[in-house]
C-alpha cells in the first residue's frame, strides 16, 4: 500500500500541469463558474470556440478521450487508470474543461466504437466528442421503466426507412439534443429482449414532438418525446435487427468507467459543514449541537469510505483485477449518502427549510430544498435503488434472479 504516485507518474503530473498553465489561463478558468459546469454541456450549453480549441489541444496531447482512436477524434492512448486519474485531478484543479459529460460521449460513443458501421463512426464520433452533436437517450417509456425490455415504441421497415411510432419519457436534454439514440421494437414476434433494435434518430425529423416534463422541483429538466410516423433512414440502425438490447449493454470498457464522482459529494459535504458553522439553531451555531456533530461524523465516515473505495477501485483497475461486487455497490452507496447529506442540510437550515427557492430569506436562495429533492432524483435515475439492490444481490452475492417466471 502506497498512496504516493511513483516518480514516473509525478513526472506525468508535472507535464499535465505545464500543459494547463500554458493553455488554460486563470482568466479562462475565471470564466467558468466551476470545473463541473466547464465540463458539462448536458444542460444545453454550447461549447464555445475557446473551449473547443482547448479541448482539441488536450486531445492532441493525449489527455482526453484516451480510449477513442485518433481517426475518430480521440487521443488513442494505452489504457492507464492512474494517468486518467491524474488528468482528472489536475483538470479539476485548474477548472479546465475535461471530457464532455452526458450521454453522447459516455454511452453513444462506446456503443458506436463497438457496434457501429464505419460510416456511423466517421459521421458522429468526432463531433460528439467536441459537443457539436448533442445527444439524448430514448430508452424509458411510460410503461417501461425498471422493466426496460418491455418497451413498446415500434419501428416498421418501409422501403429504405424505419417508420417509428411511440413515446419516450424521462428524456434529459431532448430540447437541446441534435440526435437521439433509441431502443425500439422491430421484431414484435420475438421474445421481448430479442425484438429490440438500436436506432439513431435526427431530432429534426417530422413527426417528432418534444414536450417538457415538469419534475417535483418545479423545473422541467426532462421531457417526453412523442414519435408519430417518424421516418428514420434504414442505415441508422446500430448493430443488427433484434440485437438492440445487446448493443445497448456495451459497457464502458475504458479506464474512466470505474472512477466515481465522490469529489462532487465531497464538495456537498464540505458545503454542509460550512453551513452548520454559519447557521444558528436556537441561539448557537448548529455545529455545536452534539447530534448534528454526530451525524456529520457519521456521514463523513461514509464519504471517506467511498473516497478510499475510489482509490481501491482505481488500484484494481490498474492491476486489471475484476472489482465485482465492489463496483456494483457504488451507485447505491453514493446516492444514499447524497440523500442523507441533503437531509441533514435541511435540518441545519431549520425553520427556513420551509421557504421555497426565490424567497429572499431562504438560506442560499432555497437551493437546499431543491438539492434535497434532486438527491432523490439521482437515487431513482439510471436504475432505481431497488434495481441496484437486485444487481448487488444477484450478480454480487449470487442470490436467485428476480422476475423469472
Amino acid at each position: 500500500m502506497n498512496l504516493a504516485y511513483s516518480a514516473e507518474y509525478e513526472e506525468f503530473r508535472a507535464e499535465v500541469r505545464r500543459f494547463l498553465s500554458e493553455h488554460w489561463t486563470p482568466e479562462d478558468a475565471a470564466r467558468q463558474p466551476s470545473a463541473e459546469t466547464a465540463a458539462t454541456y448536458i444542460g444545453g450549453g454550447v461549447a464555445d470556440e475557446r473551449v473547443t480549441a482547448f479541448r482539441l489541444q488536450a486531445i492532441e496531447r493525449g489527455y482526453l478521450y484516451r480510449h477513442v482512436p485518433r481517426r475518430y477524434g480521440g487521443s488513442e492512448q494505452t489504457p492507464d487508470p492512474l494517468k486518467a486519474a491524474i488528468i482528472g485531478e489536475e483538470f479539476r484543479r485548474a477548472h479546465a474543461p475535461h471530457e464532455i459529460m452526458g450521454q453522447g460521449p459516455s454511452m453513444l460513443v462506446p456503443t458506436l466504437l463497438e457496434h457501429g458501421t464505419e460510416a456511423q463512426k466517421d459521421f458522429f464520433i468526432r463531433d460528439t466528442l467536441l459537443g457539436k452533436i448533442r445527444w439524448c437517450q430514448g430508452y424509458s417509456e411510460p410503461g417501461a421503466g425498471s422493466d426496460l425490455a418491455s418497451l413498446r415504441t415500434r419501428a416498421v421497415l418501409e422501403g429504405d426507412s424505419w417508420v417509428v411510432n411511440g413515446q419516450k419519457i424521462w428524456t434529459s436534454s431532448a430540447r437541446e439534443a441534435d440526435w437521439m439514440f433509441a431502443l425500439v421494437r422491430t421484431e414484435p414476434d420475438q421474445p421481448k429482449h430479442d425484438g429490440i433494435s438500436y436506432l439513431l434518430i435526427d431530432m429534426k425529423t417530422p413527426g417528432l414532438d418534444v414536450r417538457p416534463l415538469r419534475q417535483m422541483t418545479g423545473d422541467a429538466d426532462f421531457n417526453e418525446v412523442f414519435l408519430e410516423n417518424v421516418r428514420v433512414p434504414a442505415a441508422n440502425i446500430v448493430g443488427k435487427r433484434g440485437q438492440g438490447w445487446i448493443v445497448s449493454r456495451s459497457t464502458l470498457k475504458h479506464e474512466r468507467a470505474l472512477i466515481g464522482g465522490s469529489h462532487l459529494t465531497r464538495r456537498t459535504f464540505d458545503g454542509l459543514v460550512m453551513l452548520a458553522k454559519a447557521l444558528e439553531i436556537r441561539g448557537r451555531p448548529a455545529i455545536e449541537d452534539p447530534v448534528v456533530r454526530n451525524r456529520l461524523v457519521e456521514l463523513e465516515s461514509r464519504l471517506l469510505a467511498n473516497e478510499y473505495q475510489g482509490y481501491r477501485l482505481l488500484t484494481m483497475s490498474a492491476r486489471a483485477e475484476d472489482p465485482g461486487l465492489s463496483a456494483m455497490v457504488m451507485k447505491l452507496s453514493s446516492t444514499t449518502l447524497g440523500y442523507d447529506i441533503a437531509k441533514l442540510a435541511m435540518d441545519v437550515v431549520g425553520d427556513r427549510a420551509m421557504l421555497a427557492p426565490g424567497e429572499p430569506n431562504a438560506p442560499a436562495m432555497g437551493m437546499f430544498g431543491t438539492a434535497y429533492m434532486w438527491s432523490l432524483g439521482v437515487l431513482i435515475a439510471g436504475g432505481a435503488a431497488n434495481i441496484q439492490r437486485n444487481i448487488v444481490a444477484e450478480r454480487g452475492l449470487g442470490l436467485p434472479r428476480d422476475g423469472k417466471k
Binding site: P290, R302, L304, T336, N390
Partner: protein, 362 residues
C-alpha cells in the same frame, strides 16, 4: 499509487484463514469459550508458529517487523473465524510498548510475545466508561500503582499488564507483572465468550514506568481501535456469507428464501455499506504508520463506523435466519456476542464520533 494489498499480505490472510478453518472450526471455538480461561495454549502456539503473535514485533526482537495494517489483516481473519484468545490483548500490549519507545521493555518482553510464550495485555479503561488518558484515577507513586481496572482482556492469562495510570507528571504507561504483589485478578462472565475480561485491582503493585505523557497511551488505543474495526469487518463478512448460504438452501413457500426480494434487499443494503467500509479501515491502518496527522481521527472514525455496521449486520443476519438464528446451537450468536465487545471496548461509537468532531476542529 497503490491502495491494495501486497502479495505477501494476501498470502498472510490466506494462510491464517486456512489454518483457522482446519484448526479452529466453531466446534473448537465453543470448546475454548466454554473452558475456564477462554484460552487454548495449543491454538495460540499454532498461531504464533504462523507468525501471528509477532507480526508487529520488530525483527530485532524475533518478530516480523510489519505494520499495523498487517496486524489488522490478521485481526480481520480472526474476526472472520471468531477466534477466541488473547490476540487483541497481546497486540495492544505490543503497540503500547512500541509506542513508549522504551528499549529495555521491548527487549525484555517482545521476544517472548513473538514466540507465543509470553502474553501481554493492556489496562486502560476505568469505571464510569472512562477511556481518556487524561482522566485516569489509577495512581503511581514511587514505582507502585494503586487503582482499579474493571475490564481488562485476558489479564488472568497474561504475564504482564501494560497499565495506563497517572503520577505527579501526568499520564503514563507502566508495566506490571501479573504475578507481582498487590495485583488481584478476578475473572468475569463476558458477553463475548471469545474475548474474556477480568477485573484487575492494583494495591501498591510494583510497576516499571515506560512512557510519560499521553501520546503512547493514545497510540496504543488507536492501534486497538483499528484492530477492532478490522475484527468487526471480518466478522460482518462472515455473517453475510453464512446468511447467503442459508438463504440459498432454506426453502419456504416452495422456494429458497434468497429468492424473495425482501431478503435480497436486506443483504444488498448490508454489503453496500460494508464493502466500501473495508477501504476506511485499510486507510486508518495505513495512516497509523504513514500519515501520522490523520491517524488518530481515522482510527476513531473506523472504529465507530465499522462496529456500528457490525451491530447492524449481526442483527439483520440473525433476523434473516429466523428461529434457527436465535438458538444456542446455531453459530451466529458467537459473532453477535463478538460484536457487543467490539462496539463497547475502548469506548462506544458515539464517544469516538464526538472525538472525531473535536479533532476536526468543528
Amino acid at each position: 499509487m497503490d491502495f491494495g494489498l501486497s502479495q505477501d499480505q494476501v498470502l498472510l490472510k490466506e494462510t491464517i484463514r486456512r489454518y483457522l478453518e482446519s484448526e479452529c472450526p466453531t466446534t473448537r471455538v465453543r470448546a475454548i469459550m466454554e473452558s475456564d480461561r477462554g484460552h487454548d495454549p495449543d491454538l495460540w502456539a499454532g498461531l504464533a508458529e504462523l507468525g501471528v503473535a509477532g507480526l508487529h514485533v520488530p525483527a530485532a526482537h524475533g518478530g516480523s517487523g510489519l505494520e499495523l495494517l498487517d496486524v489488522a489483516l490478521a485481526a480481520e481473519e480472526l474476526g472472520w473465524a471468531c477466534t477466541p484468545g488473547p490476540f487483541l490483548a497481546c497486540a495492544l500490549g505490543i503497540a503500547a510498548i512500541l509506542a513508549s519507545g522504551d528499549r529495555d521493555a521491548a527487549a525484555r518482553w517482545l521476544p517472548g510475545v513473538a514466540r507465543g510464550e509470553t502474553i501481554l495485555t493492556f489496562a486502560l479503561g476505568e469505571d464510569g466508561d472512562e477511556w481518556d488518558a487524561g482522566r485516569l484515577a489509577t495512581r503511581a507513586r514511587n514505582g507502585k500503582l494503586t487503582g482499579k481496572k474493571p475490564l481488562v482482556p485476558y489479564a488472568a492469562v497474561a504475564d504482564a499488564l501494560v497499565v495506563a495510570a497517572q503520577d505527579d507528571d501526568g499520564p503514563g504507561l507502566w508495566i506490571v507483572e501479573r504475578a507481582a504483589s498487590g495485583v488481584t485478578v478476578a475473572g468475569l462472565q463476558s458477553t463475548d465468550m471469545t474475548r474474556r475480561l477480568d477485573a484487575v485491582q492494583l494495591a501498591d503493585a510494583p510497576g516499571t514506568k515506560i512512557a510519560s505523557g499521553r501520546t503512547a497511551i493514545d497510540r496504543a488505543r488507536d492501534a486497538g481501535l483499528v484492530l477492532l474495526a478490522a475484527d468487526a469487518y471480518g466478522g460482518s463478512r462472515r455473517c453475510v456469507d453464512m446468511t447467503v448460504k442459508y438463504a440459498l438452501t432454506r426453502e419456504q413457500f416452495g422456494q429458497p428464501i434468497g429468492a424473495f426480494q425482501a431478503v435480497k434487499h436486506q443483504l444488498a443494503d448490508l454489503v453496500t455499506d460494508l464493502d466500501p467500509a473495508l477501504s476506511l479501515w485499510w486507510y486508518a491502518a495505513h495512516a497509523y504508520d504513514h500519515i501520522r496527522d490523520r491517524a488518530e481521527r481515522h482510527a476513531a472514525l473506523a472504529k465507530a463506523h465499522l462496529t456500528d455496521l457490525y451491530d447492524r449486520t449481526v442483527r439483520t443476519t440473525t433476523e434473516l435466519h429466523g428461529g434457527i438464528g436465535f438458538t444456542w446451537e446455531y453459530d451466529l450468536h458467537l459473532w453477535f456476542r463478538r460484536a457487543v465487545f467490539d462496539r463497547a471496548f475502548l469506548g462506544e461509537a458515539n464517544y469516538h464520533r464526538q472525538r472525531a468532531a473535536d479533532l476536526a476542529g468543528w
